[in-house]
Structures are given as C-alpha cells and as structure tokens.
Amino acid sequence: MIDDPLSVITLVPLFMGLALIVLPRFLPKSSAEGLMRVSRNISMGIALAVAAITTLLFLGEWGSIDWTDITQGGYVLQNEAVNLIPSIGVTWKVGADALSFPMIWLTAILIPISMLVEWDAKRGHLFFPLLLIMEGALLGVFVALDLFVFYVFWEMTLIPMFLLILLWGGEDRRYAAMKFFIYTFTASVFMLIGILVMYFHTEAIAGLGSLSGHHFDLVAMTAQENLIPSEGLRHFVWILLLIGFATKMPSVPVHTWLPDAHVQAPTAGSMLLAGVMLKMGAYGFLRISVTVFPESTLVFVPLLIVLGMVSLVYGAWVCMGQTNLKRMVAYSSVSHMGLIFLGIATMQPLGIAGALFMMFAHGIISPLLFAVAGAFKHHYHTLEIGSMRGIAHHSPWLAAHMMLGWMASLGLPLLAGFVAEITILIAFWMTYGWLVLLPALTLIITAVYYLNSMQRTIFESNDPEKGILPESLQGEEPSDLSWHENAGMLTLAALTALFGIMPFIFWDMMSDWSSGFVVDTMIEAMQAQEWFP
C-alpha cells in the first residue's frame, strides 16, 4: 500500500488535472484530440479513485486507524516532512485529524458527484480537469500542516473556481468572477500578514529555517508556548486572520461576493463553492485562530456571537425576499455559516462538535440544493421562484430532490442538518441561557422561506393538469432530470439521510476531538482569564 496516502490524494489530482489541460497543446493533433475525448473519463476515474482511497482510510481498511482516538494536536497519516524551502523553513508536511478528515472525505466524495451532475458540460476537456485541480487544491488546504503550503493551496483554490465562473458562468459572469476574486484575494492578504507575524515569532527548530531562523510548521507553532507574547499583537493577528477566514466563510458584512458568485457559477462550481470552499474559512479559523490563540478567541467571543447572530438572522431575513432560487440558497448558506460561529462561541465540546458537524452536514446538503437549482435552470431555463407552479407534476424527480434538500436545510429531524442545528442550539443554551431564543426563532424564518417557495414552486397549481410554466420555456414541455443528474442527487440525498439517521459515523470522532480540544487548549486559557459564561 502507499505510505503517504494524503500526499497522493492531493498531488495526483492536481498534477493529472494540469497534465490533462496542458498536454493536448504539445501532442500531435490526432492524439491530442483522442486525449481530449477521454479526459472526462480519466478525470472521473481519478476522482473516484481518490474517493475510494479516502473511504477505505476512514473504514480502517487501510492503515487501520482508530479515528475516535485522535485528540487535538495528534495527527494521523502524517508523512515524513519533506523540505521545500529549508532556508525559510517550509516543509511538505501533511496529516489528518477529526477536524480535517470529514472535510477531506467530503471533498473526495463531492468531486465525483459534481462531475456526474455536470456530465454533459460543454468544453469537457477543460471542465473536468479543472475540477480535478480544484480537488487537489481543496484537499491541500485540509491536509497541509505547514502554513506556507496551507496559504499556497488556499490561494490556489481561487484559480480553478475563478475560471469555472468566468468560462462556464451565466450572463454576468465577468462581474461575479472579478468580485469573487478581489474579495477573497484581498482578504487572504490580511491573512498572509497575520501568518507572517506568527512566522516571525517562531523559534528556530533544528534543520528548519537555516537562513531565516523561523519556520512555518503549524504543529510546532501550536506547541510553542505563548507564540506571540505581546497580548495586543496577538489580538491584532487574530483579527487579521479572522478577516481572511470570515470572508471565505462568508460572514456578514463581507459576504456580498457569495450570492453573485453562486448565481453565475456553473452547477458543479456552485456545489463545490458551497460544499467545500466555504468550509475552508471555518476550518482555517478552528485550525489556526482558535487552536494557536485560545486566549484571544476567548476575548473575542462576543464578536463571534455578534458576527454569527447577524449572519444567521440577516441571511435568513434576506432569503425571504429573494425571488432567485440560487440567490436564496446562497443566502441560506450565509445563515448556516453564522451557526458555525455560534457553535464555536459556546466554547463547549458539544457546541464545537456541533459546529464541526454543521460544516460537514452543510457540505452535503448545500451541494444538493445547488444541484437542484442548476437542474432547474437547465430544464426550466429560469431561476425565478414565482414564475412557475406545480413542478411536481412535470418533473417529479426534480421536485422530490428539491423537497428533500429544502427539508434537510431547514433542519428536519432524521436528516443531517438537524443533528448539527440541535447540538449547537443546546450548547448555546447551556452557555448563554435564554439568548438561544434568537437563533432558535431564526429557524422559523428559515422554515418560512423554504416552505413558502416550496408551496409556490412545487405544489401550487392553478390548473391541476399542467401547473404554470415559466415563459422562458416558450410553451415547451419541461423534461425531468437526466440520468446523471438524478444519480448525483440521489447519492447526495442518500448521504443526507444516512448522516441524519446515523450521525455517529462522524459524530463520535468530532465530539472526542472537541472534548480533547476544550480540555487541552481552552481550559487553561479560560482559567487564566477567569472566563465563565
């Protein structure tokens, strides 16, 4: 078996994707065309192989890892660090724990599904390799234990997503792609400055940073006692990092790129954007800000609550006024990401585990929602919610997936979203008491907008025979989902139900990690600051 599966699943998709794009330009014409014809199948094959490897890793068939036994600071599947730039202390160092592994698995599963949903994409010889590059970059963010490499992958995810929006997007794609790029790039510059300040505070370790005397090793940074001694500077760095992460998540007030990017992005792009890219923000926040600076996190808990609450309430409120299906789902993502901040702000093992589960659950529900929205656009040529009635009659499969996705998103029990929401709310109640009423009542708003659009699009019909079809169809009869769209959505729906009924598959390792995290990292800081909510 391979010694270092994490590096393999990161680098193979990355380089294969690049090769599939670049090679046809250098090959003779006939073989280049042959390669372009099969590049879709090759991409799918690689994506499936990565998904298989990741699943085997989880099931313990490969390397027999006990996933519930990983505590914060302990990583499995670590490789022998490879020096990339020893003079400034950059190494290729990967590892996984309960925080990153669900995200790794999610990415590995979502890529083949999104490929499947857009199996008939135009210019497939570019589209599918780009998704592979995306997969490599996203996995790189989650496996990297070196901040330099982390940052490089973080920026690298921008490029395929930017190209997906620019080349396969809707009418306003230029504006959306530019806004997406500028927002996230500018924010990550703040993050880079924060990382550099951390870098300059690291102590030299043998063999690393021969020229600079510092290193980017995240594990060693976490272990270093009191990385930034000056309290003010520490808070400053924490804020810089937060700007980078909150923009990616996104949290109000830096969320405005998200709806535009989502509306214009192709279906697969939206699925990955909502499913995995948004989680990069929450992941980075937990992995770097909270882990390395627990004291600052405690100080800024009120800020987290405000950001989380505002995102939650504002996102849900704006959803009610949306008539564009994708825009509504995008704002509901903002709303759900707010819950993650609230979960972290509880500083309880239960709340943090809930936030982790929220990251995962939203990662399978929102791709389903965007796949549905994309299919809707595909078959009905519109995204306006009010323009049609009774699609259950015309496209029963589409209506079924739409129902399930919306139900999962508003938190129906036995679906994945419910587990995350209820645990975060319980933990929030345990810490902050009746303040929980605000997020809890917001769930009602969520129910309102979902049920409202459900009634208007899926069921209500002025003419029981036909329903009302949007004008954009120009009188044609809409078709139902094609086989590949249906297959992709069925998989997502099955996962939603699976993790709703059996959340313990990932919940156990998440809650163990969170308890260990609170006990090891937070308690000390809490006692030092006499922080009792």
Binding site: S87, I88, F200, S230
Partner: protein, 581 residues
C-alpha cells in the same frame, strides 16, 4: 600602474573568460558583417588571394539577423563560463596565490560571478527579444540611378536599418562588458569607469528605439540627467581621493574605520557617490528620468534597465556602503539617509504606479518601488544591530531578489515587447483581453505580476520574505519584552522595524495595480481578436513566446522546491565570499 597588467597570464585569462568572450564578440560583430569575397592579385602573377574584407558579402554575412545570432551566442557563452567559474573549486584553481585579484583593480570571486550571470542572462533575454523588434530586410540592394527617389529612399532606409543591427548589438555587448567588469572592480576608480562604459552604452540603447516619437527624447533626458549625476559622483570620488590618497576599496575601508568622527571631505564624498548610485538603482528623488526612459525605450531595453542596470547600481552601493563605510560596530552614518530614501522611494513608486495608465510606466514605477524595498534592507544592515550572519542573510536576500527580478520583471517587459511588435503596448487597453488572444502569455504575465507583488509560492515572495525577515530579526528584539500592548511595544522598538511595516504596507498597496494588469487581461474585451503574433522570431528553437513561458516557470521554480534552495545556497556563498574578503 605598469605592473598592473604585467602578470596577466593564462590563469587570469581563464578567470576573465566571460569578459574576454564578450570582448571577442564585439570584435566579431565589427568584422563578420564586413566579410566578403574580395581577392587580391599577387602582383605579376595570376594568383588571386582572398582577403575577405570587402567585395560582395557572402550570403551568411549579409544576413541582417547575423549580429543578433552572434550576440545571442556570445552572451550564452559568457553566461556559461560565468556559471562554470561560480564553482569555488574552479575559482580557486585558477586564482593566483595572493588571492583572486587581478592586478589590484579587479577581484574575481563568486560574488562578482553571480552578477555576471545576472547581467548576461538579462542581456541575453533582451537580445533574444530584439530579433523581432528591429526592422531588417534580406536582399537589400544599393540604390541605382534608375531608381525613383522613393525607391532609392526606401532602399537607403533598409540599408540603414540593417546597419543599425550591428550598432545595437555592439552596444548590448559593451553594456554587458562594462557591467561585468564593474561587478569585479576592487577600486572605486575602476568601478566608475566600468559603470560609465555600461551607462553610456545604455543611454544610446534607450535612444535607439525610434519606433515611437518619444524615443529620442527619452534617451536625451536619460543621458543628460545621467551625466549630471555621474559628474556629481565623480566629484564625490575626487573628494575621497583628496582625503585618502588612493581609491582602493580595502584601503578606503581601513581609513574609514580608523577615522575619528566624520571627516567632512570623506563624508561629503560618500554622500555624493550615494547620489550617483541611487540614480542608477532608480531611487527617489533621483528617479524622475526613470519612467520616461523606460517608456521611451523599447521594452527589452527597458527590461535591461530595470534589472541589469539596477543590479549594477546595487553592486556599487553594496561595495560602497557595506564594504567601505560600514563601521565595525554601531550605526553607519548613511543609515538614516538610506532608510529615508527607501521609504520615500517605495511609497512614491507605488503611488505613481497606481495612478498610471501606461503598462510600461507602471512597470517602471514598480521597479522604483522594488529599489525601495532593497534599500530598506540595506538600511537594516546599516543600523548596526545586525550581526555577521544577519548581514549576510540580508545581502543574500537583496542579491537573490536582483537575480529573480531578471525572470519576472524582464519577463513582463518581454510580454509588452510582444505587444509592441504589433505597434501597441503603451496603453492599458492594449493588454485588454490578452487571455483570449494568447492564454499562455496571459497566464505568464499574471505569474509575473503576482511575483512582483510578492505572492507565495513565487520567487518574488521568497526574496521579499527574506528581506522583511532580515529587518524584523535585527529590530524586533529591541522592543521591550515586557510591553503588554502593541502601542507601548511600538514606542520602544528600534525605528528600523518600521521599514518592515513600510514594505508590507507598500506591498499591499502595490497589489492593486499588479492585479489590475492581471484582471484586464482576463476580463476586458480585446480590441482585436487576432491571436498574438507568436512570431517564429529567432531562426532557432526558442521563440520569444517559449522564452516568456520559461521565465514564468522559473519564477515558480525559484520560489519553491530544490531549485530555489540551490540558488539561495549559491547566492549566500557568494555573499560570504564578498564579506570575508
């Protein structure tokens, strides 16, 4: 003086191989285009002996691209020899027992050879790009009496164009020769003579570009300002000579450290020389001719000015500031001046670039800003807080930055050169939609911009990080460790620390215009949809297009991975060879 060259032998010839190559290249450029089939009849016999000079030229000698090929080959050879000599064992094998010096004017060490690599590679790239830029025609005939005036005129113009090829390439080689010798100079006088050889050639190269009206004006302006500044520098040097009696650097350094207080003669002399060298690196407030010169000259030449010429200025500055006038302990006299110049330079450069609409001017101002970053690093050395290893690290960062600038700054100018070849490249609109017209070139340009801005993992980030790291590591320790708030810590820290903050803030500011160039290539609609002329420019394997792509790839490879490490090792041992001498 007479003994200076008496001991020139085979060893010195080998040590000076790159320079000798360039010198013979110049001779070849003068001779080869004149070769013809002229013969001389030996008197009283019927035997004709070919004399080669004159007559009708052979096919290959009448090829107007010949000077370009010769120059490419010569520069490549010089690059190759310099790389061979970089190996310390090769160097020491051919060095004299008394050290690597030649006479007491030149010293051949790894430091100077690293810069020879830099100069020759920059000139090689420029020379490759020039092949498509300079008009030249095959089969031009001399005008006949039967020709109409127009035909005669056009024939004359074509002949002049062909003739200009030789001039241009000779000037390229003299620039290279001057720069390369200058990097080895161990004596201020020698340094200045070589500097002037390179500068005078580059003034003409700037004015050579007659495709646009401002070419001549740019060259004139650059020449006038340059010669005034040189005069200032020479005046400063004469003051130093008055003070010390000779201009040998080791001797000057000894006198400088033995001096109590600052002798006015010496102080003013050094100050005036700093002005001369600051002009060469394009530092504010002596940079005002720079944007005009860059935008008036052809892009490859602008690229040479922004990389090789700037590096030449920095060699002079390093020699003057770090070798001659750096006290063994405490702050150097020039520290405050250089720090001030650095901050003004980078801010001015970035602000001016932000408001500019001409891509060449933007690159010119960005080049000014980069000079500011490097001067800030030099100021950190002068602060007196740096120990030997930190000094070596900062110098390594500066030299590394100068080296990789050749890839991404000159690379960006080469992209503009491709646009100029179709008569554009002076307006932002000319870059619009480049991604549609030629995706590979647009991606390369984007890589260059990101590297200039200092985005990981490109080499521009690595060098900038090392410079900031140098400044921070000399200064951060001076802040009171007990400080609880940022403010009280900031009040206690040595002012040098703020240079690092200035670099970071300026880099953030510069992102706007670098990204702007990047974004217009991808988002705007091109004015014409025709693909960029992927000219099979040189009649040899490397087209300009692939050269640009190679530059982009190397920009990445020198930023991360084993290649960056070996280049850093190379630079750092070169810097050690400078500091230990």
């Amino acid at each position: 003086m007479s003994s200076m060259f008496s001991d020139l032998g085979l060893h010195e010839a080998i040590l000076l191989l790159p320079e000798i190559t360039m010198l013979s290249g110049i001779v070849a450029l003068i001779l080869i285009p004149n070769l013809g089939d002229a013969t001389m009849r030996i008197p009283l016999t019927r035997i004709r002996v070919p004399v080669l000079i004159g007559g009708t030229r052979f096919d290959f000698t009448s090829n107007p691209r010949l000077p370009n090929h010769v120059t490419n080959a010569v520069l490549f050879l010089a690059f190759f020899y310099a790389a061979l000599l970089l190996n310390p064992t090769n160097l020491s094998e051919y060095s004299l027992e008394g050290g690597p010096g030649i006479g007491n004017l030149l010293v051949v060490d790894e430091f100077s050879r690293v810069f020879t690599l830099l100069f020759t590679s920059a000139l090689l790239l420029a020379s490759m790009a020039t092949a498509t830029r300079m008009p030249a025609m095959h089969d031009v005939t001399i005008p006949q009496e039967s020709d109409s005036p127009e035909t005669a005129d056009s024939k004359v113009m074509a002949l002049i164009d062909n003739r200009r090829q030789v001039d241009f390439h000779i000037l390229l080689l003299t620039t290279g020769l001057g720069m390369s010798l200058m990097a080895m100079a161990n004596n201020l006088f020698m340094l200045f003579v070589c500097l002037e050889l390179a500068s005078l050639s580059s003034y003409i190269l700037v004015a050579f570009h007659k495709e646009v009206d401002v070419g001549g004006e740019a060259g004139m302006k650059y020449f006038i300002v340059g010669s005034v500044v040189s005069a200032v520098g020479i005046y400063g040097m004469s003051l130093l000579y008055l003070w010390n009696g000779n201009l040998d650097m080791a001797d000057l350094a000894a006198s400088w450290s033995a001096m109590e207080g600052i002798d006015p003669l010496a102080g003013i002399g050094v100050g005036l020389m700093i002005v001369a060298f600051a002009f060469k690196v394009g530092a504010a407030p002596f940079h005002l001719a720079v944007p005009d010169a860059y935008s008036g000259s052809s892009s490859p030449i602008a690229g040479v000015l922004a990389t090789a010429s700037k590096a030449m200025g920095f060699v002079a500055l390093i020699r003057l500031l770090v070798i001659v006038t750096m006290p063994s302990s405490g702050q150097a006299v020039w520290m405050l001046a250089i720090a001030l110049i650095a901050v003004v330079t980078m801010t001015w450069g970035n602000l001016a670039a932000l408001t500019s609409d001409n891509p060449k001017r933007i690159l010119a101002y960005s080049s000014v800003a980069h000079a500011g970053y490097m001067l800030a690093a030099m100021a950190a050395i002068g602060s007196g807080l740096a120990d030997a290893s930190t000094t070596s690290m900062i110098l390594t960062a500066v030299v590394f930055h100068l080296l990789v600038l050749v890839l991404f700054k000159l690379g960006a100018f080469l992209v503009l050169s491709m646009l100029e070849a179709e008569g554009r490249g002076h307006r932002m609109e000319d870059l619009h939609g480049l991604a549609v017209r030629d995706p590979a070139i647009a991606v390369s340009m984007f890589v260059f911009m990101l590297s200039l801005a200092g985005v990981p993992p490109l080499s521009g980030f690595l060098s900038k990080l090392l410079m900031i790291n140098g400044i921070v590591s000399v200064s951060a320790g001076t802040g009171p460790a007990s400080a609880t708030s940022v403010l009280s810590w900031a009040q206690g820290v040595d002012p040098v620390f703020w240079l690092a903050v200035a670099i970071v803030l300026n880099s953030a500011l510069s992102l706007f215009y670098y990204l702007r160039i990047g974004l217009v290539m991808f988002f705007e609609t091109p004015e014409s949809d025709s693909p960029l002329k992927s000219s099979p420019s040189l009649e040899w394997p490397l087209s300009l297009r692939s050269v640009i792509m190679i530059c982009a790839t190397l920009t990445l490879l020198f930023g991360i991975g084993p290649m960056s490490e070996s280049l850093l090792d190379l630079v750092s041992s070169a810097v050690d060879s400078l500091l230990s001498s």
